[in-house]
Each structure stands twice: as structure tokens, then as C-alpha cells.
């Protein structure tokens, strides 16, 4: 037995020695290392011809011009388009990674289209008198918005609802001093490239409680006691002494005087975070109306479209009377907190939302239908707050739709019994017919007066990501501009004031946004709030702890970041639908350790 075992060992030993003298082990060692260099599961990027294609970003009303670098037709990176007169080649971080959206893992990929159609039809048929069918359009001013409006006009009792619209444009180039009450100029307020280009002209005074990106870029930042902006405005308007205002707002009297001086030195404009804020009425005092705050002009449209339902704000809608609510959330826009909508619904209302994200109204609707996302479909983009001349630009699709999406305009059209139309093309025709303005063709890198372009070429260029810009007309003061009076802030014992430090529209964002939100602390993620060190200590919270943000309207699980630049008594949050539902309108909150 010993001999056989010993011999077996010798056999193995001989085998090992022999193997070392062959290429096999060495090659296997090399191969395993090479295997690790071509690690399994790593995608191999597709190779192919490289082309540039153009489109416009639909993620916000700025509608920046986008140049897509495509490999074998697939966009792999996006950049701005330098010659574009408004966006100046700038893109925000969301826009830079917009081409990831179709593949977002959390995207709404399917929905009960048949069921929704049937339920809506049944509800319309069965609705009682005084009950309405309504479309809530989060991004009014688009061409499809007119489709919605026309459809609502065609339906008996149809309502066309929108979030509050500014009703004016800001011509930043005409301002020497900008007094901003928390308007996020550098973070989503208007068109990034336009603001940056105008920045060298005006002096920026930023009035807000926390040092946002805009405050950091301002010439003067006035850290104000949260909620006391109206007192400061009253002082500027001369309704209160500077000393009184200084006491209330926490801003030094000298600083207030400096602001007043700057404001009155001419060509000042006042901007507010909420474009419909009463603070905007200060512009009247500074003579900004008609100079900086100007009337918005729209691109020409077909005559037939004038038969449209009027824009109506949610507050104006009758209570308990909306039987069918169709929410077009295909492009993220101004989110109206659900608690403002719920009272308007009839008891057995049918709510359908067209969206790509589960974060917004999808949480409240019975039927969630998948919508296409940028850059899958052709769309035009509503006007931005800082574009003065009318523009018509189309987000040309860069990729084939990844999921079978429902087009909300088609859905509404069909509901109203309107014939299927090609609204974009019709409108392009109307613009061409009007004959004004210039056509920007990025592919050929040239701009041509419209009157020198044939209608077909006009449409062709637009549908490949071109842009029409109106001639700069005379600035006029906006009409019917009425700002509501400042209301009393609601009473709430919660110790912290909510400050939205990070405006955010909701909707999908590229998975790579983790670079800014989780892999660095550059931006507050939607589920993060920032507290001052003292505030955190008072709640027994450490950096990175899980906590619950609690307001009068609900609770939200959040992660707390401690940030010494946050003043005591303030909780910084990022915007977005969840936050809007939680604290929109009433900014008092409490943060409790989870």
C-alpha cells in the first residue's frame, strides 16, 4: 500500500515537473491575466462611422441647442451648439447626459392604454352636468399645447389647465442691475448660456437665505431671514424704513441702502424665484416694465388654432367638478402639488397621466401611460423666461423609441374626435408663411432669412434640429400683468424653514447624475436635505444619517447632510414633485432621526 501511494505521489510529482517544462501552465497564467483585461460582463462599445446630429433639449423650457456625437447613428455624447444665439453652446449637467434617459431603469415602460381609453370614454359618457374633462399641461406654450387646447375646446366642458405662467419675458441684456429674490439665475432659471453671456453686463444682487450657486456667483449676496423677503421689498418700495427692515430681515442697514442705491441707479430689474410672485411688482417702481420685463411673443400659428380653450390656472378650476383629468407630464414642468388638485376632482374622477417617471403624478393617477422621452420624439419646446424674440425649435429625435410610448396629444385629439394632425409641420408652415425671422441651420452652420428658404427646406431643416428665430421686435410692456398681494404666511410650529436650494423639475435624470449627487456632494439629491451643524446637533443627527422630513402635509424619508453654510433654522432641500407635495407653499418642517 505504501509503495503504491508513494508511487502515486511520484507520478504526480513527475507530472508536475513535466508540466512546468511545457508551455501549458505559462500560457494559462498569461491567459488568465488577459481574461482579466477583457473582464466578463463589460460591454464593448459599438464602433462605426461618427456623425454629428442636431436637436434641441426638451428637459426644460430653455430648449438649448444640442449637437449629438453619434456613432453608427447612436448618440454617445451631447454638447451645446456655440453659434446658437440664445444657448451659446452651454448645456446644464442634465442636458449633457440627456441621451441616457430612454434607457433609464426606472422609466415607465408600459401602461394600461386600452383600459385607460375605455375608462376615460365611459367617464365622459357618464359624467353629470357641470362635470368637466380637463387636460393639465405642465409645459404650456408648446405646439402640442395648442392641440390640447383645441381638443378641450371641442369637448363640451373641456378645461385646459396649466401651472401659473409668468406671462412676460425677461430681457437680461437690458438690465444693469439684477435684484434677485432667490431666482436661481445660474441654476435652471432661464437659458444657461444666455444668463452666462449676459452676466458680464449686469450687477447681480442675490437676496436669499442660503448661499445657492447663484448667490455664490452674485456680486452681492444678502443672506436674509427666511420668509422676510416681503419686508425687504417693502423697504425697497419705501413702505418701511431701512432700519425696521434690517431688524426683521437680518440684512445690515448699510447693505440695504446699497441695494436701494443700486436699484434706483437705473436699469434695475427685480426677479423672484416664483415668476408670479408679488415681489415682481417692484419692477414697476424701477421702470423695468417694457424695458427688461417685456411682453412674450409667440411664433405664428395657423389661423384655425385660434379656436382653443383658454389657459386656466388650477386655482380657478371649479371644485369637485373634474370628472376626467388627463395630465400631460411627458415633459417635466411646473409641478402643482397634488393637494391643490385633489379638491378639484369629482368623487369618481378618472385621472390619467402620460409620463416616463414614476416620481410625479404617477403616484396619484389611476392610469399611468408611458410617454416618450428626449431624444426619442419630435417636439417643440415652449418659450423660456429669458427669450424675448419668439423662437420655434424642434427637438429632433435622435434614436428610435425604446419603449412603445403613448403620445398624449394624439390621445387627447382622438378623445375630442379631432382629425389626426401634424401640428409641428402645420405650425412650421404658418411661420414660413409669415415670412419673418431667420432659420438657423446647425448642420450647415449658417443662418438664412426665412423668406429665402422654401417651405419644404424650412420644414426639413427644422425637423433635423434647426431653429427659427423671430426678428427682434420692439420691446413692449406685458399686458394684463397682475401680481397678487403678499399673503400671510401660514402658522406652523415646526422649527425649520424649508429652503429649496436646488431647483429641480422632476422627471427622469441620467443615472450618471450620481456623479453629482452621490459620488460627490456637489448637488443635493432628491432624497437628501442639508442642515446646519447646530440644527443637526439639536436633532441628534450625524452627517449621513437617515431621517424623516415632516411637514404639515406629510413625511418623507431623507438622508441628512450637515453643511456649515446652511443657517440655523433652515433645512435645505432639492426641488421636485415629492418635495412639492410635501412642502410646497408652506415651508415649515421638522427633521427627526429615523
Amino acid at each position: 500500500m505504501t509503495t503504491t501511494r508513494r508511487n502515486l505521489l511520484k507520478f504526480v510529482g513527475g507530472g508536475a515537473a513535466g508540466a512546468l517544462l511545457t508551455p501549458a501552465p505559462w500560457r494559462l497564467i498569461t491567459d488568465s491575466a488577459l481574461w482579466s483585461e477583457n473582464w466578463p460582463g463589460i460591454p464593448r462599445p459599438a464602433h462605426g462611422g461618427i456623425t454629428a446630429r442636431f436637436t434641441h433639449c426638451t428637459l426644460c423650457p430653455a430648449g438649448c441647442a444640442v449637437r449629438a456625437r453619434c456613432v453608427a447613428g447612436q448618440p454617445v455624447s451631447l454638447t451645446g451648439v456655440k453659434p446658437h444665439a440664445v444657448s451659446h453652446g452651454a448645456l446644464c449637467p442634465w442636458g449633457i447626459a440627456g441621451h441616457h434617459l430612454p434607457y433609464h431603469p426606472a422609466r415607465v415602460r408600459q401602461g394600461p392604454v386600452k383600459e385607460a381609453t375605455a375608462a376615460v370614454a365611459q367617464a365622459i359618457a357618464q359624467r353629470g352636468t357641470g362635470e368637466h374633462v380637463a387636460v393639465l399641461d405642465l409645459r404650456p406654450g408648446r405646439t402640442v399645447s395648442w392641440t390640447h387646447r383645441r381638443a378641450m375646446a371641442a369637448i363640451n366642458g373641456g378645461l385646459y389647465l396649466t401651472p401659473r405662467q409668468p406671462g412676460y419675458s425677461i430681457d437680461l441684456a437690458a438690465a444693469k442691475t439684477v435684484i434677485s429674490f432667490g431666482a436661481p439665475l445660474f441654476d435652471g432659471w432661464g437659458t444657461p448660456g444666455n444668463v452666462i453671456a449676459a452676466r458680464s453686463i449686469f450687477r447681480l444682487i442675490q437676496i436669499e437665505p442660503v448661499e445657492t450657486r447663484t448667490a455664490a456667483m452674485a456680486d452681492l449676496w444678502l443672506p436674509i431671514q427666511p420668509g422676510s423677503e416681503f419686508m425687504l421689498a417693502a423697504a425697497l418700495a419705501g413702505n418701511m424704513t431701512l432700519a425696521e427692515a434690517a431688524l426683521i430681515t437680518g440684512v445690515g442697514e448699510q447693505a440695504l441702502a446699497a441695494v436701494q442705491e443700486a436699484a434706483e441707479s437705473g436699469q434695475a430689474v427685480v426677479l423672484a424665484a416664483d415668476p408670479a410672485s408679488p415681489l415682481m411688482s417692484l419692477n414697476e417702481k424701477y421702470g423695468a416694465l417694457g424695458r427688461t420685463v417685456v411682453a412674450r411673443s409667440d411664433a405664428p400659428m395657423p389661423e384655425a388654432w385660434k379656436q382653443a380653450a383658454p389657459e386656466m390656472s388650477m386655482a380657478a378650476a371649479p371644485d369637485g367638478a373634474i370628472r376626467v383629468l388627463l395630465i400631460d407630464e411627458s415633459l417635466p414642468g411646473g409641478y402643482i402639488p397634488w393637494r391643490r388638485i385633489a379638491p378639484k376632482l369629482a368623487p369618481d374622477a378618472v385621472v390619467v397621466v402620460f409620463t416616463s417617471s414614476n416620481d410625479g403624478y404617477a403616484r396619484h393617477a389611476q392610469f399611468v401611460l408611458p410617454a416618450a422621452v428626449y431624444p426619442e420624439t419630435a417636439e417643440d419646446i415652449g418659450p423660456a423666461i429669458d427669450t424675448v424674440a419668439a423662437v420655434f425649435r424642434i427637438a429632433a429625435p435622435l434614436i428610435a423609441p425604446v419603449v412603445p410610448a403613448v403620445d398624449p396629444a394624439r390621445f387627447v385629439e382622438r378623445l375630442a374626435g379631432l382629425p389626426a394632425s401634424e401640428p409641428l409641420r402645420e405650425r412650421a408652415g404658418a411661420i414660413h408663411k409669415a415670412g419673418r425671422g431667420t432659420l438657423l441651420d446647425y448642420t450647415a452652420a449658417k443662418s438664412t432669412p426665412v423668406k429665402d428658404v422654401t417651405a419644404d427646406n424650412f420644414w426639413k431643416t427644422l425637423s433635423q434640429g434647426g431653429c427659427w428665430m423671430d426678428d427682434s421686435a420692439k420691446r413692449t410692456a406685458p399686458e394684463n400683468l397682475v401680481f397678487p398681494a403678499a399673503g400671510e404666511p401660514p402658522r406652523d410650529e415646526r422649527p425649520l424653514t424649508v429652503v429649496v436650494a436646488e431647483p429641480r423639475r422632476g422627471g427622469l435624470e441620467s443615472p450618471l447624475m450620481s456623479k453629482l449627487e452621490r459620488e460627490s456632494n456637489l448637488r443635493l439629491a432628491a432624497n437628501r436635505v442639508a442642515l446646519s451643524p447646530d440644527g443637526a446637533r439639536a436633532s441628534g443627527i450625524e452627517n449621513g444619517d437617515r431621517a424623516v422630513l415632516e411637514t404639515a402635509f406629510g413625511r418623507l424619508n431623507v438622508v441628512v447632510a450637515i453643511d456649515p453654510s446652511v443657517p440655523a433654522g433652515v433645512v435645505e432641500v432639492a426641488g421636485g414633485p415629492r418635495m412639492a407635495d410635501l412642502c410646497g407653499g408652506n415651508g415649515r418642517a421638522r427633521v427627526v432621526r429615523a
Partner: protein, 252 residues
């Protein structure tokens, strides 16, 4: 071997509004994957990372500036190059760019310890893109595998593309306009500029010579090629060693 080019960058901190477009453009260009939920700011991969820096005062005197930090492309005694045990890091003599070779990298992370700028990142996870998103990968940059270190190389894929373009035209010298890193291209405020520091006609060479220009930790003698500048005294102070009084800083 004298480098034929000495690429560098100038960053105007006063212009940076901290939007993060450079970080996104970088990740898109260089096929950096999104990280799993478990990752935090110390386990992520951001070849360029915008830090929020402050003047160490309390609210309301506290002021913030945004400082993009990427590989500083040290030009002398490059700390990461001579610590790497297996030559996975080298300096390209033609461009002066410090290159990191993920396929040679052992993952020992010694270079990360050596780098004072924390500009090197380790792949703690298997890189993973949501289904379909792999279609958006840039073919000029190879995705990395788990367990290796990576860092900024001034978008070297773009250098290759520019060279390729020059070769197609029968030239050996690239056109400067063809080679701009993604972050510089993406910066909406024009805070970032890029070019050959040895060529006095370039903007960067001019920027680097300005009196308000400085480099991070200049005194340790690594000759970084990223030149920052700011008109504000307290911002220029970030070039120096840390202050212990900044230790309560958390979001940074």
C-alpha cells in the same frame, strides 16, 4: 526626452458656478459607469470633481467657491508614476499627460495613497450600465474592469481621434481645435481652458502666468499642470496646506 507638448489647463474659480456639467461630460466621454446605490462620495468615480470650498467663516460671513479638481498631471516627481510597481502609470513624452493603464493595473491602490489631490479612483464595483445604456458608450475609450484604478487623462481618446484626423489629412501635427477635453468643452461659463503650456501664444500659458494664478500644493514640488486662479484672497489660500479649523466641513 523633452515633451513636444506640455498640455495643461487653467481654471478660473471665480467663473465656476458649480453646475457640474464638467463632471457629467467627463463621465459620458470616458465611459465612467454610474455607481450602485451603496456608493458614496468616497467610493465613486469622478475623474473631475467639483469641490465646494469655503472661507472657514460662520454663516452669514461664510462664502463658497467651487473648485474643479482633476488629475493635476504633475510634471515633476509625479507621485503616482514612481510608486506603481508594474509600470501601469507613465508620463507620455509627447504630451506630458500622466497615463493610467487599467489593463496593467494590479489594483494595489498605492498610487491613490501617493496622490495628494485624490484624483485617482478605484473601481470598487463591477462596472454596470442600465440595460441599453451601454449603447451610449464612447468607442474611443475602453471601459474599465473592477479592481483597477483610473483617472483623468485629458480625454486621451480625443487626442487619438485628433491624431487620426490629422493622419487622414497626411499631417503629424494635430489641429489644436480638434483636441479639447470634454470638461473644457462642456463648461458653460468658460471657466476651464486647455492647451499647450509651452506655447506662449495659448490662452492657458497666458493664464498660468497671471499674478492671481496658483497651483494646488505647489510647495511639495510636483509641478502640477492645472493652473487655478481667483481674484479672491481666501480662494487663493486653497493652494496651501489644510487648516484644522475646517474640520467641521461635511458637504464638500
Amino acid at each position: 526626452m523633452t515633451p513636444r507638448k506640455r498640455y495643461g489647463m487653467s481654471i478660473d474659480i471665480d467663473k465656476c458656478n458649480g453646475c457640474g456639467a464638467c463632471m457629467m461630460a467627463c463621465a459620458v466621454e470616458n465611459n465612467v459607469p454610474p455607481v450602485p446605490e451603496a456608493a458614496n462620495d468616497r467610493k465613486g468615480i469622478t475623474w473631475i470633481r467639483v469641490y465646494r470650498v469655503d472661507n472657514h467663516r460662520a454663516y452669514p460671513e461664510r462664502r463658497t467657491a467651487y473648485v474643479p479638481v482633476l488629475c493635476q498631471q504633475c510634471g515633476h516627481d509625479t507621485p503616482c508614476v514612481h510608486v506603481c510597481p508594474q509600470q501601469a502609470v507613465d508620463v507620455d513624452p509627447e504630451t506630458g499627460i500622466v497615463g493610467q493603464m487599467p489593463e496593467r493595473c494590479l489594483g494595489c491602490r498605492y498610487c491613490m495613497v501617493a496622490c495628494p489631490y485624490h484624483a485617482r479612483y478605484f473601481n470598487w464595483w463591477d462596472p454596470a450600465w442600465p440595460a441599453g445604456m451601454e449603447k451610449t458608450l464612447n468607442p474611443n475609450v475602453a471601459p474599465r474592469m473592477r479592481g483597477v484604478v483610473e483617472k483623468c487623462n485629458f480625454c486621451h481618446g480625443r487626442w487619438h481621434a485628433a491624431q487620426q484626423k490629422a493622419a487622414a489629412a497626411g499631417k503629424r501635427e494635430i489641429d489644436a481645435a480638434d483636441y479639447v477635453p470634454a470638461c473644457v468643452e462642456a463648461c458653460p461659463t468658460g471657466a476651464l481652458r486647455f492647451g499647450d503650456l509651452d506655447d506662449p501664444s495659448t490662452e492657458v500659458a497666458h493664464d498660468a502666468a497671471r499674478p492671481e494664478s496658483f497651483r494646488l500644493l505647489e510647495k511639495i514640488g510636483t509641478e502640477p499642470k492645472i493652473h487655478y486662479r481667483s481674484q479672491r484672497d481666501w480662494v487663493r489660500d486653497i493652494a496651501n496646506a489644510p487648516h484644522p479649523d475646517g474640520k467641521d466641513q461635511h458637504r464638500g
